[in-house]
Amino acid sequence: MAQTQFAFFPGCSAHSTGRAYTESFMYVAERLGFEVSEIPEWNCCGASAGHLRSHDLGDALPARSLALSEETFGDRPVLALCAGCYINLRRALVHARRSPEDLARIDGLIGREWKASAEVMNGLEPFMDPEVQSRLSSCVTRPLKGLKVACYYGCAMVRPRDVCAFDDDEDPRSMERILSLTGAEPVEWSFKTECCGASHQVIVQRDMKPMVGRILENAAAAGAEAVATACPLCMLNLDMREAEANRQRAELGKPPLRLPVYYFTELIAASFGGKADEIGIKRHFTPAVETVEAARSQGVVA
């Protein structure tokens, strides 16, 4: 039986910068029969600095939300679409599962009897089940035929491996498998787990700026027409700073990149025939509607 019921941890991005991710995920979820319910009274996951302040704080913040989820939804997996939320929630879970003593310590911190029984999942994991994938395939009415897409995981989602371990940390392939079901053609490229520098863009802009450009350029060099992500922070960073990267390129006399960046769920939603204004793709900085429409028109199912 595929897992179809999820407790939803929105984090700070789901209803703000990552709205397009939430909208497109929910669009797809509804059609695949997922039941996604928000955790009542959830709190900040602690990213990025909670665990740096103290390890206890780093465990307590996510643990409280997870405990609330367990009290309300029992063993239902907790879905954290944001890679930052995912890694923080998961870290607390892994810590709690190390030993009964650790669990007791964390329970003491949050004053709740949390059993750490439920899993924490990122946005990709619900789609990794073969049953879900076959259902997904059957929902594709407007395949993104031949759309060459570079799947970008970023750095947080796959590392460290003892916390995440849902896919290979250097060469993950789950997003590729999922997107290939939509008719898109994932390309082989080298920067899929490279850091985009998101959390440092504000403080050390000078060092971080080239990182976005390098990722996008590598994707383009591999023949990608689009980039797909599964993290609102990566998305924001790549999408917003592509223009900046293009300015830099212009200075060097290089043509602009024109590489729209998508949430992978937007692409799935698009292949389901979702309208541009209901699947989030109108919310991007880099124009994103045209590429999708072009791909969809290629692949009209007879």
Partner: protein
Amino acid sequence: MRIGVFVCHCGSNIAGTVDVERVAREALKLPGVVFSDTNKYTCSAPGQESVCSAIKENALDRVVIASCSPRMHEATFRKMIAEKTDLNPYMLEIANIREQCSWVHKDREQGTRKACDLVAMAVAKVSCDRELFTTNLPVERRALVIGGGIAGIQAALDIADAGFPVTLVERESSIGGKMVMLDKTFPTMDCSACICTPKMSEAAENPNIEIKSLTEVESVSGYIGSFDVTLREKAKYVDYDVCTGCGLCETKCPTKKIPSEFNQGLSTRTAIYKPFPQAVPSKPTIDAEHCKKLQSGKCGVCEKVCPTGAIRYDDVDRVTTQRYGAIVVASGYELIDWTGLYGEYGAGRYPDVITGLQFERIVNASGPTEGHILRPSDRTEPKTTVIVKCVGSRDPNKGVSYCSRACCMYAAKHAHQYLDKVPDGTCYVFYMDVRCAGKGYDEFYMRTLQDGAIYVRGRVSKIYPEGDGLVCMGEDTLSGEIVRVKADMVVLETAMVPSRGSDVLASKLNVQRGPEGFFTEAHPKLRPVETNTAGVYLAGVAQGPKDIPDTVAQAGAVASKVIGLFARGQIESNPMLSKVDVSRCSGCRACVDVCPYGALGLVQANLRENSRKVTRTVCQVNEGLCQGCGACSVACRSGALDLLGFSDEGIMQEVEMLCQ
């Protein structure tokens, strides 16, 4: 029961702190003791004489000698009893009143009391002793060498040269192993094939060596001196008795596009083939998986062209069983499959990221590029080459935690060879450490530096294609700078790992493997080529990563052990072994699980119980394998197993005597 107690003065060593006369007097009060005496030096000739005559004169049937540690003279006194009296040498116990009493206690009263206790305990134990008999097990003077690499070849040659027959089994179609694939050997830069192939032919021609290629060990039973080994020789489809090795079939075979294993996939071969020209046996085999005739029945070219009619499409595996006195494990290694582990290096997607062994083939004059350094993707000469060391080695997160030992040197060799053949080329070597302990090794490394190799201390974190090259990204940890090198070719010096099937082989031979998977020697310092299973020896990388000189030295050491065993011709068994009382055994297997030697097994036994014949599963001790540790006697809950010489009764009686 007539026990005699002999208390030794050991000059003043014992008598200085222990009142030996009182100990002897007290001993007489112990149950079963009919005689006691003291001696100045019991181990001396007159001392031994006096003990022996006392045994005879008093018709003693058990003896306690209170003297120095049994680790010192137990063997001496056993030998004395065996040779000079009618008593069984195992009816003897030693009370250690020197090392563990007189030498460590100053108070005479305390020391004397303790000595009395120790003598009493020995008397209690000796009352439970039973006569034990050693047996001489014959040794089959024939050796089995598993693995036909340089280690196996060397061991086989050395044993065979001493006049003993050897079977050398190799699972590939030719012996030679990895060494024959190498181009040159460091630090002398001898041509590897030039020194290896003569050894191969020497082995082939030695009348005492039988080479069995395409052969694997199916099962092993028995123990030192008489292992019964079943070998499976895979079908070759060529009758080697008839084949002359002319090679005509190879030139005519229509299936030509099979990647060559010998050349590491850098060239192709035919379906009927010899892996390389100097292969031993120097005759081809048919690769059934790719042969059209065997797959679909259509073809038969080789049969038609064969001038001697040696092709046998109906050939089958041959299974034979032979008895061997000793087994040498020289199963070697393979290189870690980095493609599954290092996504950041492209997981095998970039054709110009190659392994060190592929580089060996490229640089070899008889290799796919005839010795010209040309990169695989476009067969151009790489102007910049990056060599990455420790790929898999010393990387517990992805690969293995150990150092593969030889890579530092062959990385230097590769750099040297590259710079030699591409004079205008640039070579970077990314390293963690440079370890060059060996004769002439550091000098070789220095020469490589002088050649112009650029050593960068740091691991490569990512390799990605850019243009027609590959960017290697890493940190130079000495300068703290991020380094990006655009390379035309990258050579990964990958870790050595135990050859595939080592686990299965280990369980067949019942030898241990360490956590890293290499076979474990009996003692890392003092018994480096033996295993804990007597009669099974280790040579080469099967025991742990090492280079060719160490491998050959170890093979020679193994041969000397085997020859020594064969020269003796028989082995004396230790009689202090586990013994099973089948009437109490329920066949639960607890003992089998804990035995480190595989000396215990379950058998169906026909027994008489309560005047009825019954057939039950019970434990059986293989006396050739048992080493007498006694772990089984504790694992056995019902007490069906006991250890002769250290029986439960003996130990309990010692305890009771002390508690009295």
